[in-house]
Subunit: 128 residues, 2 copies
């Protein structure tokens, strides 16, 4: 199964734009879990080699949306700090009728929208 | 034309859950502008009579998504504080190929995602 894995990383980088090692390790662990099950996973921050993209933001956004279209399943890692990009991608996946899994750390305080979202029929919620 | 007007109001309410008068007036002004042009506008906060809904959040979310589906045009009022709900709805409208207008106050500092979004072909940007 093709999986699109959405996560925000703009607040998880060092002064040189490189993703913080601890955050990278936590994402790699999650991606490995899916890949060990035989799934093919696209994750933008990994595809961009764990740095804030030098890539044109418009091209990067379009590429993400294309990958969501092609995916069978959409997984988003939620954070208490709302991500404009992750939320947009969730809405995009939702409209396309994708199977959706929302991941959040145990006890994360999620807002009204994401709490409602978890209760939709094609949305699963898991703590990590 | 049917317009869906998305705005966050969870941070614009008083202690009783009622929308602050100044914010309400600013939204009503924007809605009137579209209605004066003959458009039919759905705006959740107005439909909920300018209070945080007593309505079940899941039903409210589903209702919003249904209204986006039926709309010809999707308008979102952006704020520097990212709204999980508005972003989700933008993504939903985008996947459905709706004509999208993003509104923001002049000089609002918008993040990476919304700046990229403005440059997509079916997305217009206007300051209010």
């Amino acid at each position: 199964m093709k999986i699109f894995f959405a996560t925000s990383f703009s607040s998880k980088i060092d002064s040189e734009g490189k993703v913080l090692p601890e955050f990278r390790a936590s994402i790699e662990k999650l991606l490995s879990r899916y890949e060990a099950q035989g799934h093919e996973v696209f994750c933008a921050v990994r595809a961009e080699n764990w740095r804030i993209a030098a890539q044109d933001p418009v091209m990067a956004l379009k590429l993400d949306l294309q990958h969501i279209k092609k995916a069978d399943k959409f997984v988003a890692l939620l954070d208490e700090q709302v991500s404009a990009g992750v939320q947009l991608e969730i809405g995009y996946a939702l409209a396309l009728g994708k199977e959706i899994t929302l991941l959040a750390v145990l006890d994360a305080k999620l807002g009204w929208t994401n709490q409602a979202l978890m209760k939709l029929t094609n949305v699963q919620y898991e703590t990590v």
